[in-house]
């Protein structure tokens, strides 16, 4: 029972991290990143190969094999996803918008999947990675049963740290500028905002979160299999985001709890329906799809909608009598 509960806890917090990453990209900056799961996979792969020993004699094919300890490998996995996002963003973000960007990114996701699945010498093909060392297992003498609760708690702590950082980003002027670009990038540019640079920032920070979320997944399960990173998995993270409420980090936690934990993982632990083995699991995606449609129809803002930042929160004294008269301060013309 403890194993089941902490497995659910792990997935809830891990998808909280993944959803926060997608939220900064889509919910805040309006980047429709349909290749999101690709960045999760890159984070997972690199976290794995940074922690695995050299591939010689393991029967697996992979690069690096540096045997780095946790959380160094996890941090590098996040940075690897970020680096990959930088390459993708430099190619796509400058010229592509909305639907076209989404089409290119979903194509990229498919290419990446085929590439991993077929490039045996680099990614071990369809076998993926396995026997990835469990963090702190030797140091703390953790068994298979004690590792699950331990790592679920580690993931919870990491996700709360990342939530703290993300909250500060979203509350800061950079978050406001992301939302301005999401609402109308022509206006944002006309107000002097470098739309490409800002979208690049959102892409990078979101991909770091994707990479860390993926890294935690491979550390938890101890294996990496390309079939777990099918492009369709991106839409599970989108479901978490839409159900929870785009633009709100608390919403991301609620979405992770409702969609990933209760709808996708909890049914796997339910007793089988007699005569219909596996039937419950087959219904997972259908139920998620129905919930998504209902949410978009009846509550498109999500369970926890985006919060307005009110004037009082800026620390300005209330009462206009205390405010200075409206200063209109035209800067001097740029003349040599």
């Amino acid at each position: 029972m403890v194993y089941y509960i902490f497995t659910l806890v792990f997935f809830c917090f891990d998808y909280f991290i993944l959803a926060m990453g997608l939220n900064i990209q889509y919910g805040e900056a309006g980047i429709l990143n349909f290749a999101y799961i690709g960045f999760v996979a890159i984070g997972a792969y690199f976290t794995g190969v940074f922690s695995l020993p050299s591939s010689a004699g393991t029967g697996q094919h992979y690069i690096l094999g540096l045997g780095l300890p946790f959380p160094v490998n996890l941090l590098l996995g996040g940075l690897a996803a970020m680096f990959f996002a930088l390459i993708v963003a430099l190619i796509t973000l400058r010229r592509l918008r909305t639907d076209y960007l989404a089409i290119v990114l979903i194509s990229l996701s498919l290419v990446l999947y085929d590439f991993c699945n077929n490039f045996v010498s680099l990614f071990n093909g369809a076998d993926g990675l396995y026997n990835v060392p469990e963090p702190f297992a030797k140091a703390f003498g953790l068994t298979v049963n004690s590792f699950i609760p331990f790592f679920a708690c580690v993931t919870a702590v990491i996700s709360l740290l990342m939530w703290f950082v993300m909250s500060r980003v979203m509350r800061a002027p950079v978050g406001r500028t992301f939302r301005a670009i999401r609402d109308d990038e022509v206006v944002a540019a006309a107000l002097g905002k470098n739309v490409f640079l800002m979208r690049l920032k959102a892409m990078l920070i979101g991909s770091f979160y994707a990479g860390v979320g993926g890294g935690l997944l491979i550390q938890f399960g101890g294996s990496f299999n390309p079939t777990a990173w099918l492009p369709g998995e991106t839409f599970v993270v989108f479901a978490v985001l839409i159900v929870g409420g785009a633009g709100n980090n608390i919403g991301m936690f609620v979405g992770a709890l409702l969609v990933e934990t209760l709808l996708i993982h909890l049914p796997a632990f339910l007793p089988e329906i007699p005569g219909h083995p596996g039937l419950i699991e087959y219904f997972d995606n259908a139920v998620v799809g129905i919930v998504l449609m209902l949410m978009l129809w009846f509550r498109p803002q999500g369970v926890v909608p985006e919060r307005l930042r009110r004037a009082a929160s800026f620390g300005v004294r209330s009462g206009l009598g205390m405010l200075p008269q409206a200063p209109i301060e035209p800067a001097a013309l740029d003349r040599p």
């Binding site: 002027p173 950079v174 206006v187 905002k193 035209p330 013309l333």
Partner: protein
């Protein structure tokens, strides 16, 4: 105001167009427009529908690339430079159809505008939170004061998409002013607003001029042009047809034929 011998504005040009052209699939929207916008004055850009006025404003503000010609802010060339670069040189604009940042509050719309915000950098976010907080408070104080001036203070916490059409027009102007412009391009600021609000917006525009802002506004309401504009540029078929005071242009047969006559006729038919 205007040089009596050349008819050109006496003041230095804050903004200059030289032979701007722009074609859409072979159709010339702008076909060699050339004009100077005098510094510290209110200039009207008038002309019949399809004359290329909005296209010129789009080109000057960097929202659109021109096919040929050059544009300058003072002596700095801005031809085909991106919008954000032009905005940072002090040229701000509003749009023909109000484009509020709908998901943000009215106050947040204002706070997006200032350039060089410390809180847009991740490094500052980590290392200089005090600076960001102080700057945010200063910006918020100035934004609230501007909202009060523009009659939007009570709506400061309202989502901008929930404002009325006239309030959105006011917000657009206030937001541009928040960015401390030296040149302001207003694309039909009076379109679709009631007469009382027209008076109000006109007053704000004159106030901006008094604070040293150069204004170029597209406007069809000739009463407004006559009342607040110092200088008028007439565009027709993508070319500069004439420039000068409106009273002088009323005597220009080309202008009357191309635009003023049309406006007078249209006015008579209503």
């Amino acid at each position: 105001m205007l040089d009596s011998t050349t008819g050109r504005p006496e003041r230095a040009a804050a903004l200059r167009c030289e032979g701007i052209t722009k074609a859409f699939q072979g159709v010339h929207a702008v076909n060699g427009a050339s004009f100077d916008v005098p510094e510290g004055q209110i200039t009207a850009l008038i002309g019949p529908n399809g004359a290329g006025k909005t296209t010129v404003v789009n080109i000057l503000s960097g929202a659109m690339r021109c096919d040929s010609g050059r544009a300058f802010i003072g002596t700095t060339e801005i031809t085909n430079r991106p919008s954000h670069t032009i905005a940072r040189l002090g040229l701000l604009r509003t749009f023909q159809l109000s484009r509020e940042l709908g998901g943000l509050t009215v106050l947040e719309n204002m706070l997006v505008a200032p350039a060089d915000q410390a809180g847009e950098s991740f490094v500052n976010l980590l290392l200089r939170p005090g600076l960001i907080e102080r700057q945010e408070r200063e910006h918020a104080e100035r934004a609230l004061a501007l909202l009060d001036t523009y009659g939007l203070y009570d709506h400061r916490d309202t989502r901008a998409r929930e404002l009325s059409g006239g309030q959105k027009k006011l917000l657009e102007i206030a937001r541009a002013v928040m960015a401390s412009p030296t040149i302001l391009l207003l694309d039909e600021p009076m379109a679709g607003v009631n007469p009382a609000l027209i008076e109000l917006i006109g007053g704000y525009i004159v106030d901006l001029k008094e604070h040293g802002v150069t204004v170029l506004m597209i406007e069809h309401n000739l009463n407004v042009v006559e009342k607040i504009c110092d200088y008028v540029i007439v565009l027709a078929e993508g070319r500069t047809l004439a420039t000068g005071r409106l009273s002088e242009l009323r005597e220009n047969t080309d202008v009357v034929k191309a635009y003023l006559g049309e406006v007078i006729d249209a006015g008579a038919s209503h």
